[in-house]
């Protein structure tokens, strides 16, 4: 494999794993909260969390630029006060991937939390555990299946993310993600050059599925 391809794989893996972590930080508390409590505006919030699933990535990219670009609603202040802009930076690629991956992590996790019988948690509380202990030792382990499949879906989606990334991250010579490099080869009429990148993506996805199945089987007893 060429040095360039290694760089591309490495960047892709870094972007998607960090994006999955970012999505987890957002999705986990929200999924738990929404599975357990009712409050005004809950449906609206849930709707917003799932919206990236139906929006074309171009719109997601556009919204990120409108929000965090140099003249975006929030971005202008970041630019003024900190001279910082997320555009064309590693963090931009992470954000784009995290946003599109978020619903895929949120939905299964929320379903998993919702399926835990509340008696289990009540018992835990009666035995003197505080909320955090209950979450950490009872709810989270019981929801781990939903959470793992969510993590897997999110990571895969982040790995394949193209539309929003290409807008926010731009295309930098020898510094692209796997899907962007495949797109460039296609546009350039050299699809055969994209073959290694396609194979790498497939192998990564197969490996993930294999690992997941292994762990699911081991958990079945």
């Amino acid at each position: 494999m060429s040095h360039e391809l290694w760089q591309t794989i490495w960047l892709s893996l870094r972007v998607s794993s960090i994006a999955t972590c970012v999505a987890l930080l957002v999705a986990l508390p929200l999924a738990y909260m929404n599975a357990r409590s009712r409050y005004p505006g809950k449906s609206l919030l849930e709707g917003l969390l799932v919206v990236p699933l139906v929006l074309p990535p171009t719109v997601v990219g556009y919204l990120i630029i409108s929000g965090l670009g140099v003249r975006g609603w929030i971005g202008q202040y970041l630019h003024q006060w900190l001279a910082y802009s997320i555009m064309f930076r590693f963090e931009g690629a992470v954000l784009a991937a995290a946003v599109v991956a978020l619903p895929l992590l949120y939905l299964p996790t929320r379903a998993a939390f919702a399926s835990i019988e509340s008696e289990m948690e009540d018992v835990t509380r009666l035995m003197g555990a505080n909320r955090l202990q209950m979450f950490w030792h009872v709810s989270l382990p019981m929801a781990r299946r939903g959470l793992t499949s969510g993590l897997m879906l999110a990571f895969s989606r982040a790995l394949g993310e193209f539309g929003a990334t290409v807008m926010v991250f731009g295309i930098r010579p020898n510094h692209t993600t796997l899907p962007v490099s495949i797109y460039l080869d296609y546009e350039n009429g050299e699809m055969q050059q994209a073959a290694p990148a396609v194979v790498v993506l497939c192998v990564l996805s197969l490996t993930l599925t294999l690992l997941y199945n292994r762990s699911a089987i081991s958990r079945q007893d």
Binding site: I65, G170, Y183, E187, G189, M191
Partner: protein, 260 residues
């Protein structure tokens, strides 16, 4: 319900089977201008022209893989060369239908105002957006021009590559980059949001041309040829000019003229 569905189905099939329509795969930068030409053409001749629009590279891939297209109008020679080599298009029918020029733009309110490509090396210019040179023709011309005036290395770290010219324009309009290199026609579309600070000398890059070529597998070659004639006529060229396109460059391509 079933009947209604059957009816819809029949309509759908019938509409795709409408004869005598010619299908033109055209570079998306030609969209507005060509639609106007086609509308005029329909009024004048009754001939319906349908478009499939996209990046030239993407269209070329589609045609190579057998897309049912009669005429291909590319934003650069490269794609037509590739297709001709593959024998998918008839190179003898190749004619340039329009030209364009490359301009340097900045945001309308920008303080920096580089009035030449050399001025891009100024510290006031932080980032420069161009199309990705391998896949976006405008980016390829931009790269050539930067090399030709000898600033390619000096500005290398300022370059931001975009997936298409529209994105370059957007980056400039939003101030994400200081300057960008786009076609004159794109700058025109953007109106007063951007300012043209200089027009790149045509000698600095390969001629920017839009070649039209017949697809070998087309069964409507005669009709498609007539449409190309129309684009090249005074009427067609006047419409293209409205959108900022230049007439085909004077020295004609060293290709044989098509026989009608």
């Amino acid at each position: 319900m079933k009947r209604a569905m059957a009816f819809v189905l029949v309509c759908l099939i019938a509409s795709t089977a409408l004869a005598d329509t010619i299908t033109v795969a055209a570079a998306i930068s030609l969209k507005d201008a060509l639609s106007q030409v086609a509308e005029q053409y329909k009024t004048d001749t009754g001939q319906v022209v349908e478009f499939t629009l996209g990046a030239s590279g993407q269209l070329a891939s589609q045609i190579q893989n057998g897309a049912p297209v009669d005429l291909f109008i590319s934003a650069a020679n490269k794609q037509v060369d590739d297709l001709a080599k593959a024998g998918v298009v008839d190179n003898a029918t190749r004619r340039v239908v329009a030209g364009n020029s490359l301009v340097l733009i900045v945001r309308a309110a920008s303080k920096a105002s580089p009035d030449s490509l050399k001025a891009l090396t100024d510290a006031a210019v932080a980032k420069i957006a161009i199309g990705e040179p391998k896949s976006v023709p405008a980016g390829q011309y931009a790269q050539q021009a930067l090399k030709h005036v000898g600033v390619a290395d000096a500005v290398k770290d300022k370059l931001i590559f975009a997936g298409n010219v529209r994105q370059v324009l957007d980056y400039v309009e939003r101030g994400e980059v200081t300057a960008g290199l786009v076609y004159a026609t794109d700058a025109k579309v953007s109106g007063d949001k951007v300012r043209i600070t200089c027009t790149v000398d045509d000698a600095d890059h390969d001629p920017i041309v839009y070649p039209a070529v017949l697809v070998s597998a087309s069964k409507q070659q005669a009709a498609a040829t007539k449409f190309v004639d129309y684009i090249l006529s005074d009427k067609g060229q006047a419409k293209l000019k409205e959108y900022g396109f230049a007439p085909p460059p004077p020295p004609p391509q060293p290709t044989t003229q098509p026989t009608r």
